[in-house]
């Protein structure tokens, strides 16, 4: 399996990459880790006339704390997320999530920006970004704009990224001290996409839920924020009754697609179960 022919460009700066995107037009695609795009090109699901490789752009890499937030360059790899001491301390949910993605070889190449941009509902970062209240820095010919992850994912292979723009950076506020977190992912084998998965970030106060984010992977055409489930938990303890209600409400927003991983009913039930487990695990980690 070999992709159809294309021209290859390897700019050294974001400015050059944006210029190339503008000059080459809609037949050009950005190449990050290539582990979603190249398989699609090999199968001829995608046949771009030009690839603009972001691999040589140093300014798109790196993880740093800036005030109360963590800034992550879009070309930072899963492997780098997984081995970052800063993230282990400040954003353990992201490290946990990255560890569930694909396999070691894919994690050396696959990038957080590529995973967010690809728009496959099976990608894990979109739900993690929703749970973490992330924002995305997009750069294009008209300058820079910053969009919230909540609302960014529009549907299958569709996000708010516009033609000519590049996702340059991900910004994530550091969760309050004592926050609990968990990513629960059911998959058939190592390296597989989720049959169902749920990301939770939870703050407790006096034994009651003070703040909670719940986001679902592969339960619909794009990552979903389980807002009704979140609302149902506020001000309540985490117990059998509140967990059951949250799982039921999370399942209520799902439209899973049947595939080799299961029929819709099974996937729905598993989304409920992953939501329950993620809430329990996050609760066990949260300080009251």
């Amino acid at each position: 399996m070999i992709p159809a022919g294309f021209d290859y460009h390897a700019p050294n700066s974001v400015a050059d990459a944006i210029k190339l995107l503008g000059d080459l037009g809609p037949d050009a695609r950005l190449l990050a880790g290539g582990h979603s795009l190249l398989p699609m090109m090999k199968l001829r699901f995608a046949q771009p006339a030009h690839l603009i490789d972001l691999g040589r752009i140093a300014e798109l890499r790196g993880i740093a704390q800036v005030g109360d937030a963590i800034h992550i360059g879009a070309m930072t790899t899963e492997h780098e997320l997984l081995h970052s001491a800063l993230l282990a301390e400040k954003l353990p949910l992201l490290v946990d999530g990255a560890g569930w993605i694909a396999d070691p070889q894919v994690r050396y190449k696959g990038t957080i920006g590529g995973d967010i941009s690809h728009g496959d509902p099976g990608n894990d970062h979109p739900a993690l970004m929703l749970a973490l209240d992330a924002s995305f820095v997009l750069r294009g010919p008209k300058g820079e704009r910053v969009l919230k992850a909540d609302g960014y994912f529009l549907g299958l292979y569709s996000t708010q990224l516009e033609d000519g723009e590049i996702l340059a950076q991900i910004r994530i506020p550091i969760p309050a001290a004592g926050s609990g977190w968990s990513y629960q992912k059911l998959k058939r084998k190592t390296g597989d996409f989720a049959t169902a998965a749920t990301a939770v970030l939870l703050q407790m106060s006096g034994g009651k839920v003070a703040k909670v984010n719940i986001a679902l992977t592969n339960a619909g055409p794009t990552a979903l924020k389980a807002r009704a489930a979140e609302d149902s938990l506020l001000g309540k303890p985490i117990d059998e009754a509140s967990l059951g209600e949250a799982a039921r409400l999370a399942m209520g927003i799902c439209e899973p697609t049947p595939d080799q991983r299961g029929d819709a009913e099974y996937k729905l039930a598993m989304t409920g179960e992953m939501t329950r487990r993620a809430l329990q695990a996050a609760h066990a980690r949260a300080k009251s």
Binding site: G5, H35, Q105, T190
Partner: protein, 163 residues
């Protein structure tokens, strides 16, 4: 052809230069242009790991890397592990522990295990299983593969110079 690129990189320590179309995958360059047939083609869909090579300190599936992406890189294949007629500790351990049956997955397994031990010289069994999860063995000989990696880790720890 107009749309060809001259790409230079280091392969097992030697400088090489190839002329490729952008769409050429690294596995084909290695096997067909550079006669390095250690990396195998298994699935071609980034699942099996038979094509694993080491690129700038990363294990990568060479069926999903464009050769043009390798300009300036340092690549290592299973052919580069033997030094002066002496097998690498991993190669020796796969032999001694019977870490292979048909041998098809073996070059990818060994190349992946090489990077794993560089990053974690003293892995637990769980670390090894997680670390080689991107390499499938159709003969399903995982138990002996894990034993071979453990054995090589012990050997390398006692003779750090050979690492």
């Amino acid at each position: 052809m107009a749309n060809t690129h001259q790409v230079s990189f280091k392969l097992n320590g030697k400088a090489v230069e190839v002329s490729v179309e952008p769409r050429e995958l690294l596995i084909h360059t290695l096997r067909e242009k550079l006669a390095h047939t250690g990396p195998h083609i298994g699935c071609e869909t980034s699942h099996c790991g038979a094509c694993t090579v080491d690129m700038d300190g990363m294990s990568v599936k060479s069926c999903t890397v464009l050769t043009v992406q390798c300009a300036g890189s340092e690549l290592l294949t299973v052919e580069g592990l033997e030094q002066g007629g002496v097998l690498h500790a991993l190669q020796q351990a796969f032999h001694e522990e019977h870490g292979l049956q048909c041998g098809y997955c073996t070059p990818g397994m060994i190349t992946r295990a090489y990077r794993l031990l560089k990053e974690n010289p003293n892995p637990t069994e769980q670390d090894i299983r997680y670390g080689i999860a991107g390499n499938l063995c159709r003969c399903t000989g995982y138990q002996n593969i894990v034993k071979a990696v453990q054995s090589a880790a012990r050997k390398l720890a006692s003779t750090p110079a050979s690492a």
